[in-house]
Symmetry: C2
Subunit: 260 residues, 2 copies
């Protein structure tokens, strides 16, 4: 591959055939050389799961000038790890993940394989961006995102990101109104409220089907959920430091506890 | 179960037979009524993975006064969700997860099923603590932890935790010196440096085995890694907000990008 063009590593969690992934590949190929590694199967909600006990098979399924496509039986994080260490030939200049079918805003980031790959890249010092669309439709329209994705990606390629920071970018679903712009904002607090449907299998054994709806009472103007609901693109600077720094001092009473 | 005693929900990611889990159950039963739900299989490195496409089977394997034990084929997060919604009868007063065989300090939290269950509880407004020992030995000695675990747990049961904050507690491996005390500290930055061993299966097909070592250049005195290396117990106030709040303003230039 051409050393002068940036090397962009792409993955996702919706599997190799996802329309959002193919859109992202097409866009990134206008900006650099691309290595794509995608999962054999849909890996939504696999989070930061890694295959530490399974065999990882990977195959090169397509190659042309400036583009290589691999497929792997692992999780998005497995794919990312394998690709940047074994398949890229050199450290990628950027990792992009998505375009996810379904939003990864608010607290839903913790479940997302798409965002886990972004966080994993960031942990390894590689600039990384996750792109997600607020629509689960497998045939969703992604064409309204072209300019925004190219502009955000070019800015990161040109200027880099601060150490330990990656970007979680979510787009509103296409509507009749054009998108209003970009909001740099914080991750809203939310939770999935599950309902476990009780079903019976062919042998009459009871099992549960996990499904749920998404609830939030934190849709304030500084949040990603507010941005998406108001037809803005949300950009959340995201990290892998889960410490609540503001609580370290106020919790110092734990240090006085008896331990023996 | 007795309404006056606290209801403590326990899970882990090392599977139902783990010695650390059995120790935690024994300790918690001195403090309250206990519901245990553990995974059929070892679920290390399953992170916040959920079974949104698989059938979840759960069975009650043991019941006696003040104690119920369930087993489930899902991930730790599946277990947690199922248990507090379907099996506990009422909202648990506390979730405890572990005692993990192997530390979940520094950035390794992102991979841990044990800590994912804690974070999931926290997202749902339940106080939660993860306990982990800096030893992967399946027969590790946990007896030096009894007092500290009881004292930390009692403090949380009595006083509660701030909203959106859970505790990630790691213990040093047993050594000849007694542990020095508790440090409330921040999660160190670290990364797993993988080596992918190339192997061949019975059909001659190449695959990769994922293994790795843990590296950090962030072992400063305010970190959990420093605490563990110096024979302290580390307590990290932990959250599910991954926003880098300090970067929101400095990244406002993204808001000026062209989007159409």
């Amino acid at each position: 591959m051409d050393k002068k063009r940036p090397l962009i590593l792409i993955t996702n969690d919706d599997g190799y055939a996802a329309k959002g992934l193919r859109k992202l590949v097409a866009l990134m190929r206008t900006l650099g050389d691309v290595v794509l590694i995608s999962t054999d199967e849909v890996m939504s909600a696999k989070s930061h799961s890694c295959s530490i006990r399974d065999r990882l098979y990977v195959s090169l399924v397509h190659e042309e000038d400036g583009f290589k496509e691999y497929r792997c039986n692992g999780t998005p994080v497995d794919c990312l790890k394998l690709a940047y260490q074994k398949l890229c030939g050199r450290q990628p200049d950027l990792v992009v993940s998505g375009i996810n079918h379904g939003m990864n805003a608010a607290t839903t980031v913790v479940y997302s394989g798409t965002i886990a790959a972004v966080v994993e890249a960031c942990m390894n010092g590689i600039d990384a961006i996750g792109y997600s669309l607020f629509s689960l439709d497998p045939d969703a329209d992604f064409d309204h995102l072209d300019t925004a994705i190219l502009e955000i990606t070019k800015k990161v390629l040109n200027e880099g990101l601060p150490k330990g920071v990656c970007l979680n970018v979510n787009f509103p679903k296409r509507s009749e109104e054009p998108m209003k712009g970009i909001k740099v904002c914080r991750q809203a607090a939310c939770r999935w409220v599950e309902y476990f449907e009780e079903k019976y299998d062919e042998q009459g054994r009871q099992y549960y089907d996990l499904d749920g709806t998404f609830e939030s009472d934190d849709i304030l103007p500084d949040t990603d959920l507010w941005a998406l609901q108001h037809n803005y693109i949300s950009v959340v600077p995201t990290c892998f430091d889960w410490t609540v720094h503001s609580q370290i001092e106020s919790m110092s009473a734990f240090e006085g506890l008896r331990i023996t």
